[in-house]
Amino acid sequence: MGGDHRAFLDATLPHLDLVYQVARHVAGDGLEPEDLVQETYLRAYAGFGSFRGGNARAWLAAICLNVARSEARRRRRRPSEVPARALLDVLPLAGERNGEAAPDVADVVIAGLDAREVSRCLALLPEPQRVCVVLVDVAGYSAREAAEALGCPRGTVLARVHRGRRRLAGLLAESGVSHGRP
């Protein structure tokens, strides 16, 4: 028994940063990410006996998402969806029109926005897209791992990530305009 929890921690604590990345963006209002991480680890420990040495990263992500969803259902709170505007409708890329080298769109967006604004816009994405963007882009999971955690095909993950990124970019562009930034 004594070695049981140590074996569990040895197998899972190296992935703490990843789980924390996920928790920060799936914990609903009123639920601290640290609490969500702790509950994830406690549930994972309770189920460690049935874990057969697969991908621990994906396993932990799946548990974290399940705990967050359960808690969100309990609180009956859903994120609202905001329609996105096309990025290039908002960002003037004069250089491109003159045939010169255009600034990278990502650089333009990122230069004008801080992480808090990105986090706010990310929270506005529909949940399937938000979760995929969080897993792949924020936490650094591969599409295959994200698919395993979510129990869906890898192609679905790639499509949701793509849609989520585009929508996020649109929301950020809107946000930049509304704040008087280019």
Binding site: A86, L87, V109
Partner: protein, 247 residues
């Protein structure tokens, strides 16, 4: 999303075979709509990566402690579920399938269910949950204890202090043995929130007392907030707390 977009998503993930990827490269030179989609994808990906942030210092320790406590709780419940040998002989059949399941359920309730309760029931605050979990498991009580007034009245510290963060609250936890009772004393710079069912109590600041999973809790608030947890009757806890070296 149509098949074209799906293939674009696969291309952006770098998962197309080289020949198909070259076709996409050529296509993007001609198709403004797809090129715009690529740029939006890059912008969104770059922005999302801004959010990467390492876990806060101390979280690994907190997780380690929580798992350690859950493991100790599970072990303790297994021991509690095991009656003395002479009793086991006569009641073995009754225990089979009931005691084990009950103990596991109790352990699971303590370890897992305290802060995520079913819909409609208010949750016990995370900071109080952490202290209760610790008190449940470390030390291992043998049922509800009671103050033995004939025993030495000088509190003796058991083990070493532990620091844990729960609900955004930093808590130092110490365990004391006094008069045959082992009590956990948690001290925090922020007041411990009152759990559901708690009652106002006499003492410093907004003192409160509560019962939680076989434990009596008593919290008093002054310059710091001190939460005492022990497996004693509620009526005895305030007197016990007064004899402990808290704050």
């Amino acid at each position: 999303m149509d098949g074209h977009d799906r293939q674009l998503a696969v291309f952006l993930a770098g998962e197309l075979d080289p020949a198909a990827a070259r076709q996409w490269d050529a296509h993007l030179l001609e198709c403004d709509q797809c090129w715009q989609a690529v740029r939006e994808d890059r912008a969104g990906r770059g922005a999302a990566r801004l959010l990467r942030q390492p876990a806060p210092p101390g979280l690994a320790d907190r997780i380690g402690l929580a798992v350690e406590v859950a493991a100790a709780t599970r072990l303790r419940d297994r021991r509690v579920a095991r009656p003395p040998r002479h009793a086991r002989a006569s009641a073995r059949s009754r225990w089979r399938g009931r005691a084990g399941a009950g103990a596991l359920a109790a352990g699971a309730a303590v370890a897992l269910g305290v802060f995520l309760l079913p819909a409609g029931r208010p949750a016990v605050p995370a900071a109080v949950t952490a202290v209760a979990r610790y008190a449940h498991a470390v030390p291992m009580p043998s049922g509800e204890q009671s103050l033995h007034h004939g025993e030495p009245t000088v509190p003796v510290e058991v083990g070493r202090p532990r620091m844990v963060t729960a609900g955004g609250q930093r808590i130092v936890i110490r365990t004391w043995r006094l008069g045959g009772v082992e009590a956990v004393v948690a001290v925090s710079g922020r007041p411990f929130p009152m759990p559901p069912g708690a009652a106002r109590a006499a003492g410093g600041g907004m003192a409160w007392s509560a019962r939680l999973g076989g434990l009596s809790l008593y919290c008093r608030n002054g310059r710091t907030s001190e939460l005492v947890a022990a497996p004693v009757p509620a009526a005895e806890l305030a007197a016990l707390a007064a004899r402990l070296p808290i704050a």
